[in-house]
């Protein structure tokens, strides 16, 4: 359908039909059609409202034409529009403004003669000044003589600023008064002067005063974009790109422009080959202009190979040469293969890299070469200690001849040897000591773990986690005196640490019990008192109950009854006291009447579960378990206690109660129960970081079971996010440290490949999407 035909069709519309059509045409930017329709409407109904509408549509069309660069047509539209209401100063004002924006200086000035308000005229004269500056000599000629002097001053000052005569320019600009139509140009120049003198604050101050829709503001924008973060952030993305481009053009730096092209190549394609080709062209200029940038660019691309794959190693080498710290790319390959879970290959490359450093220690200042080698051995040890689960489908791609290796085969050298090599080179490497201890523990080699822990303590005598670990091991073997000694050493530097105080209290209690068993009642009483002095919460009643059993054994029943009463007043869970006394009666082979009495008390207590009781019982069971204490009937009692705890699962636990219960269950190695209650904690206290953390720990600590990484990593990450949202304190920080340690062990590079490899969040078919490595 032709335009002409369309127009004919519109002539048949009634005024009621025309209005919505006009509105729609305006909204959709079809101003020419809107103008035709509005003319018809005004012809049918020449009301003041329709005249206003017609004026608006004329102006809209003129603006549209100007924005399309058709200023001549725009001016024609404006001339026609002038006839609509030629006597109205407001209408003349608007038309004059639009004419000035179209660059029509003569007609604008003629219209301004009809404006009675000098303030309005002054604003439009500013636009006339912009038009004149843009039209250069022709613009000057079109100006009235009164404006030409300021025009000349601006042109002169620009020349002076360009040639570095800042003082002369300043004097020239002084001739521009505050009322001048060229005042904005003066501000632009002042800003540019400041910018070129590296005085960004003053530059921005000047440019902030510019009127946004005037030409000087547009000219200042690319420079302001570079130095004014708020201005930059306020621009839409397209404008940002345009301003950046304009700035680069003004800056005239070939290197910068080529680097931006490089940036665009990497951003759009993500591939190294075309980017490296661009760098080959750029490098000579870069070496000459900014040699310090070359190694940074090389580093950027070196590490980028981990993302793109091994094919780019040779391309990289051709462009940048061999990296000084990794001349044969063994480190890069080791990291790449680690990333892909190919630990056999990673192990070999790490080993070769270690040999390289050993052969050329001069590249590392002082004794750093030995430490670097020690770190590599440590890493190899960690890799050897944690062979990942096999992938279901094997579709690997490698870049050397080792492709046929079985990823599940043990690594050679094995973990222990790697850690030992690391410690030979750097005996003060704490992480290696710790890794070796844990490696032995994982493998259930407690003797070797103890030996490694003692080696660690020789270097770091106050290392609390190791002191605790060794104390736990000694305690497990019934060596309560040494266990206590180690815990006291741990407490020395951390006297206010509640957790450590509790553990020392426990150690005193266990030692007291051995004294009771041996009939050394006075020593036992001293240990009970020491334990009581360090205890807190419900622990006091537990200690008092033990002490009571001691006094029964010593034959002082009156003192025993007194202690039982004290124990009961300190707890809201008498079931715990009954259970504890029963276990002690059995263990210490006390009178049968006592056994009967406490059995009945326990039976009554177990009938009505409550949160305090659950915590107390788990605390006792944890103490028995970690102390390695056995007695006849223990299994049945444990079952009853666990059944009580199970019944308590629907009770209302406060957050600290639930946390304590979970921790006790972990100490008991009752992992499924610990997970269940941690889950309840996650449900009831979703803001708490502790429960996802404890949930994860209940998986990690469970021996003889493979850690389900796909469950544990998200739990640890959630715990980390929640903990990070909490204010910093020692407890939170220690938890975060532990979370990071486990995350590093489970997912060393925080890579999504684990997700793909183990299938969380994706279908099994997607296992091998990271083909390059």
């Amino acid at each position: 359908m032709s335009k002409k035909h369309k127009h004919h069709q519109t002539s048949t519309y009634s005024p009621a039909d025309l209005r919505p059509r006009i509105d729609r045409a305006r909204q959709e930017g079809r101003f020419q059609q809107a103008l035709e329709l509005t003319k018809q409407l005004h012809k049918y109904e020449p009301t003041p409202a329709n005249l206003e509408l017609l004026k608006e549509v004329y102006l809209g069309r003129a603006r549209q034409l100007r924005n399309q660069g058709q200023t001549r047509d725009a001016l024609t539209v404006l001339e026609v529009a002038l006839r609509l209401d030629g006597a109205s100063p407001a209408w003349i004002d608007r038309l004059a403004q639009e004419m000035a924006l179209c660059g029509e200086i003569g007609r604008t000035l003629a219209l301004l003669d009809n404006l009675p308000d000098p303030a309005r005229a002054q604003r439009i004269l500013g636009l006339v000044a912009d038009a004149a500056m843009q039209q250069e000599a022709a613009g000057r000629a079109a100006l009235p003589p009164a404006l030409r002097d300021d025009f000349d001053r601006i042109v002169l000052a620009f020349g002076q600023v360009e040639s570095g005569q800042d003082e002369a320019a300043r004097e020239t600009l002084q001739g521009i008064s505050l009322r001048s139509s060229f005042l904005e140009w003066k501000l632009l120049l002042r800003g540019l002067q400041a910018y070129w003198q590296n005085d960004d604050i003053r530059a921005v101050e000047n440019w902030q005063r510019l009127t946004p829709d005037r030409l000087p503001a547009r000219l200042a924008a690319p420079f302001r974009y570079r130095i004014d973060a708020a201005f930059r952030a306020a621009q839409p993305p397209n404008t940002q790109a345009a301003l950046q481009k304009q700035f680069d053009r003004f800056q005239g730096s070939m290197v910068l422009s080529q680097l931006r092209n490089l940036q665009a190549t990497l951003a759009h394609k993500g591939k190294m080959a075309p980017a490296l080709r661009q760098i080959e062209m750029l490098l000579p200029a870069l070496r000459q202009e900014m040699p310090q940038i070359v190694p940074r660019l090389a580093a950027c691309f070196y590490w980028h190979i981990l993302e793109t794959g091994p094919d780019d190693v040779l391309r990289y080498q051709r462009v940048f040469g061999r990296p000084p710290d990794d001349p044969n790319f063994h480190r890069l390959q080791a990291l790449g293969y680690e990333k892909a879970g190919e630990l056999q290959l990673a192990h070999r490359h790490w080993h070769q890299y270690e040999r390289e450093i050993a052969a050329h220690p001069e590249g590392w200042p002082g004794d750093q070469a030995d430490h670097a080698r020690a770190f590599i051995w440590q890493r190899m040890g960690q890799n050897a200690a944690s062979i990942p689960e096999p992938r279901k489908t094997q579709k690997r791609r490698s870049f050397d001849l080792f492709d046929g290796d079985d990823p599940l085969a043990p690594l050679d050298p094995p973990a222990e040897k790697c850690f030992q090599k690391s410690l030979e080179l750097a005996p003060d490497l704490l992480e290696t000591h710790e890794a070796l201890v844990h490696h032995h523990l994982e493998a259930k080699r407690e003797g070797k773990a103890e030996k490694a822990a003692r080696q660690l303590l020789q270097q770091f005598p106050n290392h609390v986690p190791t002191l605790e670990l060794l104390s736990d091991l000694r305690r497990k073997h019934g060596d309560y005196a040494t266990a206590l000694e180690l815990m006291e050493q741990a407490l020395k530097g951390n006297a206010l640490d509640r957790r450590l105080r509790r553990k020392v209290s426990d150690a005193h209690l266990l030692l007291a019990r051995t004294h009771v068993e041996s009939g050394r009642f006075d020593e036992a009483r001293r240990q009970f008192q020491a334990s009581l002095d360090l205890s807190g919460g419900s622990d006091g009643s537990m200690i008092l109950a033990h002490w009571a059993a001691c006094e029964f054994k010593a034959g002082d029943s009156a003192r025993a009854e007194e202690l039982i009463q004290q124990a009961l007043t300190r707890t809201a869970a008498p079931v715990g006291v009954s259970y504890l006394l029963l276990t002690e009666v059995l263990r210490l082979k006390l009178d049968r009447s006592l056994k009967k009495r406490f059995e009945e008390d326990l039976k009554a207590g177990l009938a009505a579960p409550n949160p305090d009781g659950a915590i107390f019982l788990t605390r006792i069971l944890a103490g028995l378990h970690t102390g390695g204490i056995k007695y006849i009937g223990q299994k049945g009692h444990t079952q009853k206690a666990l059944s009580y705890i199970y019944k308590a699962r629907n009770l209302d636990f406060s957050e600290p109660q639930l946390e304590e219960l979970c921790r006790n269950l972990l100490d008991m190695e009752a992992y499924p129960q610990a997970r269940r209650f941690a889950n309840i904690g996650e449900r009831d206290y979703p803001e708490s970081a502790v429960f996802p953390y404890l949930h994860a720990m209940a998986w990690i600590q469970e021996k003889g079971r493979r850690v389900p990484t796909w469950q544990v990593v998200p739990l640890l990450k959630r715990a980390r996010t929640l903990a990070q949202a909490q204010p910093s304190n020692e407890r939170r920080d220690r938890m975060l440290e532990d979370i990071d340690k486990h995350l590093h062990e489970l997912n060393p590079f925080d890579l999504d490949f684990l997700g793909r490899m183990f299938g969380f969040g994706e279908e099994e078919d997607d296992y091998d999407t990271d083909e390059d490595w």
């Binding site: 620009f158 580093a299 950027c300």
Partner: protein, 97 residues
Amino acid sequence: MDDPHIVLGLAADADDETIRRRYLELVRQFTPEHHPEKFAAVRAAYERLRDRNARVRYRLLEAGRKETIESIVEEVACRSSRRRVSLKTLLSVLPKP
């Protein structure tokens, strides 16, 4: 700028004492109240170099790893000298009237 030696203005082979002295000098100069970003950068750089083990670990596994093409372009843009341009050049980016 990712290199902690450059952030602290130190040679690559600076020892513990030199690093610590320089760090204390910089945190006195760039207090967290007045220069929070610079202070954080100095702290982070110091953490990477504070002892021999940290330095070796950094060099082995982290050096240059955070370099991005964006940061390099930004650096080049900042370091490039500011070229003065003429009125004609400025106006050339505008559409012709």
